[in-house]
Each structure stands twice: as structure tokens, then as C-alpha cells.
Symmetry: C2
Subunit: 516 residues, 2 copies
């Protein structure tokens, strides 16, 4: 028996898809059976679709190639959309397989009938609905071609149930991934001239990945020319730590960002986009560069950025030198100190093992942690480019599935963690070496800051409870244990650091509630 579902599974596997995060229902039973019959694909169950899609994002960030998701009809896709939004903004390749009612059943408007394509278009670069088992092979090949192209990364295939269950002999040959788009050779001379201007120019590098080599090249260019060097405020994956130059992030806050970019006459973009404010604030700009600054795009976001930087460095005569590795400065670390934004930084940096993957959703508490970890053991750092919270625990699941031999550290605010806490269960089920640190400040702290900053006044008796997670404060130890993950609560910086080191050195997941 070979049906449409088998052809889909086989074609995905032919293109190197070996992992599927899934939360199926009745309309996906043929798809599930077929995926189960395909020995090259491993299935991971998640108890909520936001975990499914976030895990696929995390997998893609670490592997640079797509995992599949398996989602139940429109509502299943809807539950996964917030993390698909993040994946799309991170340019993470990803294939959603969404079951649909049988074609002939759609016109009876059954309870679960919904506009799946309409939903999918809002969070996908590419949407396709095979209309027969005989076309699903070609449709799958077309989808794989699209998401290795110059622009599209998130694909959604909507599979009517009768397309999945109908038998067919049609196959289609796998296609090779397309090469990355080329850097813009014609803007190179302008970029070279601009950067020679020194401090009035900036080199801005961005998504999706910043490798150690890229960081070294960027630093060398900065050293050779005196230009400013920034990464985008969030980067999907970034090599960091000892031996990797600590590039400056463009600040997140609009006021700090405009200050950092003040006086620039030229901005050279390598993978980066023109800097914009995260939100609009009254009497603050949306575009952050000075009005008269010239933007020079050397490489579009999905180009081979390492190549672009090599060429640029060569043109500028910038040499990568191996600098002395800075030693972590722990002279100010007091283990008995309470856990604050400041002490968190040292606590994490001291504990981080070589090869760790850090998934950062620390929101208001992340500034010092990011800075301190610049001198920690070499590691990868993952940030949210889409701004939809609840991204980090699911992404940690996917990163760990992608790299089972590397410990993953997920540092998340408690408010953020509550959106997708079901990720904990998959960490337990799939025995993932993920350490989750919950920064338990028991509030949406960023909102209290943002309310006055955006001109909406100060919190009142009526609105303050809407930013508070007290009354009752979630007990994260119980929430973790309830999902099968061992957990502990710590209240000072030293205990936190020891707990992180201990958890990351042993297999399986651990949650640490860091009370702030």
C-alpha cells in the first residue's frame, strides 16, 4: 500500500527531513501512520502546538535545515502560529504539515472546518494544498525547492484527508538545495569607501546566523577602519564566548538605539535590515538611523554572509588576528547575593559548559547575562527575532533534539514561560538535556516600564494586577514536576550558578526556579 501520505513522508525524507514534531488528530491519522512507516523520520510528541512549531524553529536554527511539524486542522495550526511567526522572522526553514478534511467534506461545514490557508498565509512564506495523491510528490518537491531559495523559509502544506489516504504510484525525484543568494558585488566599492570613513560609518550584521568566523571578520573590519560594528538587536543564532569577539548588539530600546547610531553617515548592511524601533512610542522615531544616513546593502538577509564579510575584509585589508582570550572577571561575584539582573549574568557565565546552547528569553533581565557570557566557554546564543513570547522552552526542545550531545540552557521570564509550559513534558518524554531557568520576578515587569514609556501613565490599582503574577505566584517546581521534569528553587546567585552547572552536566531535563 502506498498512499499520498506515504509519498509525502518518503519525499520529505528524500530531502533530508529526519525529524517531525507532532500533535496529530483524526485528520492526520494517515499522515501519522505513514510517518511511522518511514524509518528515516523520528517523531516527537508535544502536548500543545506552540511547542511543536517552536521546536521545529529551534531544530532549524541549530541544523540549518527543516524539521516537519504535524498539526491538526485549522485550530491546531492556529495554536502553533505565534511560534511560526517567530520562526518566519528568524528565517528558520520549517515545513508544517496540516491535516485538512477530505476535499468532498469541506462543503458541509463540519465543526472543525476553518480557513486553514488563510491562517497559514499569515505565518508562512509558502502555502500549498495538494489536490490529489498523484500530485503530492511534485507539490512536496516544489515546496522543498521554495524554502531553499533566496527568500522563503516557512512552508505550510495542507493535506486533505482523501489526498493522504488515496493510493498512488506517482513519485518525484528529490532536488538539490539552491545555493545561497550572492552578496551584492556592485555595492562593495561603496561599502569599502563608507567604512573607511571610520566612526561615521557602521557595519551592521544580522540574521539568521553569526558564526565565530563572521564575528572575527567583523571585528577585524572595525579594527582596521575605526567603523562602528553592530549586530542586529536579536540574532537567530550567534557563536559567542571565549575566543569569539564580543560584538556589540544594536540596543533594543529606542532611546539607546538612536544614541548608539547617532552621527552615522553610512550604514553597511550584511544580512541585517535597516534598524527599526521594536514598538512605536509617541515622539520617537520608527526608523533609527539618522535621517541623512546612507544605507548600503552589501548582502541580503539570506545571502552567504561569511563570504560577504571575507570579501569586505579583503578589500579593506583587514586581518583577522588571534587575540588573547579574555579571562572571565568574577572578582565581583558574591554567591550569597540575591538573584538580580546583575548577578544572573555571572551566575550563568560561570556555569556555562563548552558547547552549550543558550536560548534567551530573559526579557528585562537579560542585559548583563548577555554581556557576561562573552567571556564564558564557547557556546551558541539564540534570540527571538519575532517578539512573540513563549518562544524559548519550545525552541530549547528543538535545539536539543537537533544537538543531543550539547547541553541546552533556556533562560526565561516566568511570564513568558507560562505561554508554552507544556514544552517541559516533551523535554521529559524525549529525555532532553535542557536546563530551564525560570526568572521568577512574578510579574510582566517589562509592561510596568513600557506603560509610562509609551505615555499611558503609571499603573493604577485597577491595572497593576494585570502586570503581576503574584496572587498566586506560580510554583514552577510543581509545574515542572507535574510535567515529569525534576526541579529545584534557588534564591541566591551562588546556588543558581551551582544548580545550572549541575543540571547541565547530567542527562535529561531540569528546571530551576530562580526567585528574584
Amino acid at each position: 500500500m502506498t498512499n499520498g501520505a506515504d509519498i509525502l513522508s518518503r519525499t520529505l525524507a528524500d530531502h533530508g527531513v529526519d525529524t517531525c514534531f507532532a500533535n496529530p488528530g483524526t485528520t492526520e491519522m494517515h499522515l501519522l501512520s505513514a510517518l511511522g512507516r518511514e524509518p528515516r523520520i523520528t517523531l516527537h510528541l508535544c502536548l500543545f502546538e506552540g511547542v511543536v512549531t517552536g521546536a521545529a524553529d529551534g531544530f532549524a536554527r541549530m541544523k540549518g535545515r527543516p524539521a516537519a511539524t504535524l498539526l491538526h486542522l485549522g485550530p491546531g495550526l492556529a495554536n502553533g502560529m505565534a511560534n511560526l511567526h517567530n520562526a518566519k522572522k528568524a528565517a528558520s526553514p520549517l515545513i508544517n504539515i496540516v491535516g485538512e478534511h477530505a476535499t468532498y467534506h469541506l462543503n458541509v461545514d463540519a465543526p472543525l472546518t476553518a480557513d486553514i490557508a488563510g491562517m497559514a498565509r499569515t505565518v508562512s512564506d509558502y502555502v500549498v494544498t495538494p489536490n490529489s495523491a498523484d500530485t503530492i510528490a511534485a507539490d512536496t518537491v516544489g515546496m522543498m525547492a521554495a524554502i531553499t531559495g533566496p527568500e522563503q523559509r516557512v512552508a505550510t502544506m495542507i493535506v486533505p484527508n482523501d489526498v493522504a489516504w488515496t493510493e498512488t504510484n506517482t513519485t518525484a525525484a528529490a532536488i538539490a538545495p539552491m545555493p545561497a543568494p550572492e552578496p551584492n558585488a556592485d555595492t562593495l566599492p561603496r561599502a569599502v569607501t563608507a567604512l573607511k570613513g571610520g566612526n561615521s560609518a557602521a557595519l551592521m550584521i544580522g540574521a539568521p546566523f553569526i558564526t565565530a568566523r563572521m564575528a572575527k571578520l567583523a571585528q577585524a573590519i572595525g579594527a582596521a577602519t575605526g567603523c562602528r560594528v553592530f549586530t542586529e538587536p536579536t540574532v537567530a543564532r550567534m557563536s559567542r564566548g571565549s575566543g569569539v569577539p564580543a560584538l556589540q548588539r544594536q540596543p533594543f530600546h529606542v532611546d539607546f538605539a538612536t544614541e548608539a547610531l547617532k552621527g552615522l553617515s553610512d550604514a553597511v548592511l550584511v544580512g541585517a535590515r535597516t534598524p527599526v524601533a521594536f514598538f512605536a512610542y509617541p515622539n520617537r522615531p520608527s526608523l533609527l538611523l539618522p535621517d541623512d544616513a546612507t544605507v548600503i546593502e552589501l548582502a541580503p538577509p539570506l545571502a552567504d554572509m561569511e563570504k560577504a564579510l571575507e570579501t569586505l575584509a579583503e578589500s579593506l585589508g583587514a586581518q583577522v588576528t588571534s587575540e588573547p582570550t579574555p579571562t572571565p572577571d568574577n572578582t565581583d561575584f558574591d554567591g550569597t547575593a540575591p538573584i538580580t539582573s546583575e548577578t544572573l549574568g555571572s551566575a550563568v557565565a560561570n556555569a556555562l559548559p563548552e558547547g552549550a546552547i543558550v536560548v534567551d528569553e530573559s526579557i528585562t533581565n537579560g542585559l548583563h547575562m548577555f554581556a557576561k557570557c562573552a567571556t564564558a566557554a564557547p557556546h551558541d546564543w539564540l534570540n527571538n527575532r519575532g517578539g512573540s513570547i513563549g518562544y524559548s522552552m519550545p525552541v530549547a526542545v528543538g535545539a536539543s533534539v537537533a544537538c543531543p550531545d550539547r547541553p541546552v540552557l533556556c533562560v526565561t521570564g516566568d511570564g513568558s514561560a507560562a505561554y508554552t509550559l507544556q514544552a517541559l513534558w516533551t523535554m521529559a518524554r524525549s529525555k532532553l538535556n535542557v536546563t530551564v531557568v525560570i526568572l521568577a520576578n512574578r510579574s510582566y515587569r517589562i509592561l510596568a516600564n513600557e506603560m509610562s514609556k509609551i505615555g499611558a501613565g503609571e499603573p493604577t490599582d485597577a491595572t497593576l494586577p494585570l502586570m503581576s503574577l503574584e496572587d498566586p505566584a506560580p510554583d514552577w517546581v510543581k509545574l515542572a514536576e507535574g510535567h515529569g521534569v525534576s526541579a529545584e528553587r534557588v534564591t541566591n546567585a551562588g546556588s543558581l550558578s551551582l544548580a545550572i552547572a549541575r543540571a547541565m552536566s547530567k542527562p535529561g531535563p531540569t528546571l530551576i526556579e530562580a526567585v528574584m
Copy 2:
């Protein structure tokens, strides 16, 4: 200071909106401030947007009028979409207020920029984006008019941040709700003739509400004519229990449904839709009535169904009689028996206090419970018409906020509960008298049934784990306590019944893990 956000809040309150379930972010800070300044509106924080929207659905089911939601941009709406799908299918009036970037900020494609209107259209009957503070009053009045009309119930207003923060003096007078659409007087003679045909005709009554009076009228019509009487398989809210005739539900499963409807020559629809299969199955029909049956629509889904049934009963000379109240039959109840689908029924029916609200997401375990509760104390029964799981705990939140003096019982499968478990926190925060019974069979049991039924074979070693919630089994006592809800675990029918009765008689929420 009166800005667009104030005008919106005031206009909503002028139309009787007194409750807002919220999960706001930066772009909603002016909206939150304004809602906080409007003394007629009470705010309830939920930690996940699927709880926000489900709660608004539950509120609407009990009150028959809308609550507002407050959601953060596209991803916030996306997280709420699955339960908006359910609300839309239940025809629950509901107003989503979704913050949007300032109008001038949209073209810079900030991280959180998304196609909010595109998302909203998939789960809303009505979508509006005020383009200035001067039009938001009129836009709000227009929205309120739309959702009290003959067809539309779920509205989404997308509020650009500058529309919220800009000052204005524009107001708009509140409008009165529109009357419900009239029954189809012209089909009444045909309906009368058809029903007089007795057993070859069926009276089918449906969404959104079936009151005790409607149940009595339907039963009287059945008794007078010999016709079959069915409710739709799921009804948004239904009066049940002692003194209310137990109407037969059209069976959920396609085979039982076609059997129940076999031989019909006429189906008279009062609020109901033409019966359709929940899913398509190979070699099974999508439309469930016999091919040659005539469908007679006496009243469209949102018409005054009680009036339609009164007229119909009068035309048929059917008299509502007060029948002897059946006594619950507990002779077969053995408290020491394990918790099964069968014993669950008696355990719940025995414990149910008068005036209870039951939110049913028992999936594979609900059949006997529904039947047994027909003779329990009078209560309301809420069912999911949209089929998207994770509906019940959020709906229970909203039902309890709507009816604080009535105990709410939420009976849910463990798989379903995992989608929106954050609802537990709002139960604790808002001190709601909700009793949650988790039917812990530690599986998506329905899928194992459905897989073979739909022709996808039997579960294999590769696919069975995708239907299992073992390894690890969620610990619902800890998950509840982690959210601030007291909890206990029971393993036999008697303990379950006692625990339900105890929990419902005291204020505040309780979770009972019923191990099956």
C-alpha cells in the same frame, strides 16, 4: 484627557460590556489604562490568550451578551484563535480588542508586525480597524450593531496604538440590540404536515441555547406526533436535569448517527443545521440524513427558537404537561468501583448541586455522564461546537465569572486539559468556584479509536507513543498546585463523587485528578 482608548472603553460600557479578559502587551497599554479608568468594566488577567478567548466564550454562553478580550498584536490573537474558532461555531457574542502598532510604524516591518486582519478574518464574523481616534466611537457602535444582528457574533477590532493614544472629543450614542431574526412563518405549514407523519419525521433543535421551556415544547411535540426529536450533537448551552425532559442527542459517531436518522423522510430544523459528519471517513457519508429526506428550516440558528417551538406546538395541538420527575437510579453505583466511563456518570450525577454549570470536554468518556445527569439536580450543560480541544477550562473560567453564585464543574480529558492548563491560574487569581475533574486515562484515547476507524491501520510501535500521555504521565495535582489551585487525586468512583460534591460546595477552585 480623553483619547481613543477611553472612547472605546466608554462606548463598550455604554453597550453593557462589563467584563474584559486580558493579556496585554506594550501596544495595549493605553487600552489597558483606559479600561482601568472605566468603572463599569472589570478586568481579569489570563496567562495565555487561549484562556482569554475561551473565557469570553464561556461568559457569553451564560450571559447571552459579550465580554471583551484584550490581546497583544498578531501573535496574541493567534494564541487565542483556537478558542475563537469554538466561540464562532457556538455563536457566542464576543469582542476582541487587538492592539496594533501605530499606523505610521506598520511600514517599517518591526519584529511583531503581522497580518492581524488576515488572522482575525479566519475566526471572526466582523473585523474592523478604526483609522483615527475620531472614528473609533462610530466604529465601536457599528461593531456592537453587527454582533447583535441576525448572523454575526464574534467581532475583532484592531486598534492602532496611535488611534488609542490620540485625544478626541468624538462620541457616539449607544444603539439598542437588534431583535432576533423571526422564525420562517412560510415553512410552518410544511413543518406541521411533516411532523404529523410521526416516526418518519424528526424535529431537530440546535444552537446556541436550549432552555428548559424549549426542551418541554420539543418533548410535547414528539409526544403529540410520534416524531423523532433530536438536539444537535453539541449545544452551546442546554438546560438539563430533574424536571427538564431529557432530549436525545443526535449521535456523534457517523455510523450511529446514520442509524438514528435512518428512514426519515422529513427533518424540521429549529436552530439546528443539516446533520453532517464530524470528520469524513472512507465509504461513509458526509451528510447524514437519508438522500431523499426533505429538510424544512423552521427557524435559522440565531432566531428566537423558543417562540418557534411555541408556535409549532400550538399548531400541532401539543401540550406541555408536567410529568413526574424521574428519580436518579443509583442502585448500580458501587463507590469502590474503578473510575470508568460508566461509573463516572453516576459519580457526577450524584454530586451535582442544583444550579450547577457543567462544561463537558470528556471526549471518549462522556456518553454515560451525559445520560446519567438527565436525572440530576437542574443544571446547565455546555458543549464544544467547534471541536478544537482545550476549550473547557477557559470556558469554565468565563462561565464562573458570569455566574459567580453558581458552582461550575469542568470535566475534561487529560489530553485536552494540557492545551490550556494556564486557565487554572485565573481560577485561583479570580477565586472562581470551579471544580475541574481531569479524566486521567493518560492517552489521546480517541485517536487510537479513530486511526482504525478512518482506515489508517492500527497503532504501531512508532505511532502508539504519539497517542500516549504516559512516560511521563502528567501529575495533575502538581500542575494544579503549581497554578495555585488545591487538588487531590482519586482512584475510585465513590471518592470521585464525594470529592466533586465537596469541591462544589465550597468557594474557590479545586482540581480532582480522576485516575482511570
